[in-house]
């Protein structure tokens, strides 16, 4: 499964709930397969998608808030896991698409292949799920709705040469669309 396929599967499940997507190819894939007003495409500030997602989750307890993170992104802000695990937002679903690489900058390796990201998340109070196949991803998504968060969904993906187009909305438009949707 490549990131774009996984993004499409989860994006369809999310409905009108907000998604905060990490910078680089993550936001580009989401924009291409499932552009919605409730998507916050983070185009800079690498590492902060989960923090923005936490802020939105705390203020919108009736919505399920999805973070679409990458392994390189979350490794830049591991402290965020501690803050999320301490505040325990029930409505936060933190998805990490893990290809063991900084794909957006040319495929250089991250150290996510050397450690267990999901164990870090488990140690800080997340409910954790690890998936490698589309079938398992779909079945877990069906169950997640009933669970209390914070939920950490680690989706193992393979790298790909496929490139999605850049997000064409201006940052201010992204801001205004998201604010209206919340």
């Amino acid at each position: 499964m490549i990131r774009k396929e996984a993004v499409e599967i989860i994006g369809n499940y999310v409905g009108k709930n907000p998604i905060i997507s990490a910078n680089g190819f993550m936001s580009r894939d989401l924009f291409e397969v499932n552009d919605k007003k409730s998507n916050f495409y983070m185009i800079g500030s690498m590492g902060l998608a989960s923090s923005i997602g936490l802020g939105i989750a705390l203020k919108n307890p009736k919505k399920q808030v999805f973070v679409f993170d990458g392994d390189g992104n979350i490794l830049m802000n591991l402290g965020s896991l501690v803050t999320i695990g301490s505040l325990k937002p029930k409505n936060l679903i933190h998805v990490v698409f893990d290809n063991n690489s900084h794909e957006s900058t040319g495929g250089q390796p991250t150290n996510s292949s050397q450690i267990d990201l999901e164990k870090i998340a488990e140690a800080v109070n997340y409910k954790i799920f690890l998936v490698q196949s589309k079938t398992k991803l779909i079945s877990i998504l069906k169950n997640i709705k009933k669970l209390q968060g914070p939920i950490f969904l680690l989706v193992k993906i393979s790298t790909s040469k496929e490139r999605s187009k850049r997000v064409s909305w201006t940052p201010k438009t992204i801001r205004d669309r998201v604010m209206k949707s919340l």
Partner: protein
């Protein structure tokens, strides 16, 4: 800045609909932060950029937020401020304790302390210095800035040694 004024600033901003106080502690701001703690209205984060991210999410949810930090943390956060807060025009108030304002402050603060006003100016983040005399006027200025959807900074100088 004295204890009484720092505590008053928290309540003044809270009464003017600043709903969230997020950041990393700083000794220059310790009474302000203590007042946030006493009122159970604070999120202490692991790094300043994280605080900016959380406050951005809250502000997108139409809940006004202040991010507090020391100027060392401000220097850490410059790329986040330019590529998130300024790029998307997220109306946040930064409250920054200015170490290295005194030229004989601790050595680790001197270099950033000396260029603190220049850093703010170069990245285009409008700022005002809060004092025990002018704090109400400057808080009103900041509240007006965010009403116009502009981020801004309030600075408290470190005027003492410990």
């Amino acid at each position: 800045m004295n204890e009484e004024v720092q505590r008053k600033i928290f309540h003044y901003l809270k009464n003017k609909k600043i709903e969230n106080f997020v950041g990393v502690p700083d000794s220059t701001l310790k009474y302000f932060i203590d007042e946030c703690l006493k009122n159970d209205n604070i999120i202490i984060t692991t790094r300043e950029e994280e605080a900016i991210g959380i406050a951005t999410g809250m502000t997108l949810s139409k809940s006004n937020s202040l991010v507090f930090m020391q100027n060392a943390g401000f220097a850490n956060s410059i790329s986040t401020i330019t590529s998130l807060v300024e790029l998307y025009e997220i109306p946040l108030i930064f409250l920054i304790g200015w170490r290295g304002y005194l030229s004989d402050d601790a050595p680790e603060h001197l270099k950033i302390g000396k260029i603190q006003p220049k850093l703010l100016k170069i990245i285009g983040l409008k700022s005002q210095i809060l004092t025990e005399q002018n704090w109400k006027v400057k808080c009103d200025w900041a509240l007006n800035q965010i009403k116009e959807k502009k981020p801004c900074a309030l600075i408290i100088r470190r005027m003492f040694h410990d």
